[in-house]
Subunit: 183 residues, 2 copies
């Protein structure tokens, strides 16, 4: 059972400072469509700011219940997977309430070297474990150190050729889901 | 040797009509970053409209030479792969001029069933053939029939769970590049 979360706080900006980022409409669509394609249970948008949550919920309402849901049923199917939360701990709590089990958390990032879980290992765990898993993605320049340190696992980065691996989070989410769920 | 092209004409809209679509800033960034990550030679944005090409070239200049190139070197590295062309035949001609060889063209799409080239087969061809390959992606609801019919190969679609496979073109491009280039 696989969940994913996209964090807007706490994340790093290009200078390495901890910031809160704004929600990006295309993140909702692209990652929700990948989540639906690869059988993810829910996609959590995590942002603690009231104004940002209001904007996010208006976008979601358009596609889940408003004109968007009539205009494009496939898009509705994907965006119905999206839920909003303030903080990562609230996401974990929601999954516990839903499944009765504490999810294993898996931090992702392009620059995470070291004690990494391989994509193939996560794939096996998803098949064999009876626990829910929560894949955590960061916006801007990636997850804050505290999120990475507290995660149960750190996923290996997607390696590019000649050391370039700066995928958009939307692309990285799709590639990781493809690698860890495909038979 | 792998090239990719994103067509804004001729493509289908949701009603199946042949249309020209507008360029989308995030397509440039996401697909260019995936192209750079996976070692693609060049990423062609194909749009016949003068106003659209003007907008596209302004975006590119910002990242290739303007302030963007100083602000974010990694983004510059990716967007330097992007080139503009009017029509698919111009792209093919440019590849012939560059390599001395006619590229094999590969159409992509979510709903292309039938005589398909598997991702694993394309991967083998890329390794063993001495020819350039050109992967063709469509915007909106996908490539027009004439583009598909004239392509040398049609790539198998990315299959989702429960028949849902409506990835964004940005996500589909990343997943396909991952599948056909990764060792």
């Amino acid at each position: 059972m696989l969940y994913i979360a996209l964090l807007h706080y706490p994340v790093k900006n290009k200078a390495g400072e901890i910031v809160t980022t704004s929600v990006v409409n295309m993140d909702f669509h692209d990652i929700a469509r990948a989540a639906k394609t690869y059988g993810v249970q829910a996609f959590f948008i995590v942002n603690p700011l009231e104004a940002q949550k209001k904007l996010a919920s208006e976008i979601l309402r358009h596609w889940q219940e408003g004109y968007g849901s009539l205009f494009n049923q496939k898009r509705k199917d994907a965006l119905t997977l999206v839920r909003l939360q303030d903080k990562l701990c609230d996401v974990v709590e929601e999954i516990i309430n839903e499944t009765g089990k504490k999810p294993k958390t898996v931090a992702t990032g392009a620059s995470l070297a070291g004690r990494n879980l391989k994509h193939s290992e996560l794939k096996k765990k998803l098949k064999n474990d009876k626990l829910p898993y929560l894949l955590i993605f960061g916006t801007d320049s990636g997850l804050a150190p505290e999120i990475i340190e507290e995660a149960d696992f750190i996923l290996e980065p997607i390696e590019g050729v000649e050391g370039y691996n700066h995928l958009a989070v939307r692309s990285a989410a799709a590639v990781i889901l493809d690698r860890i769920t495909r038979d």
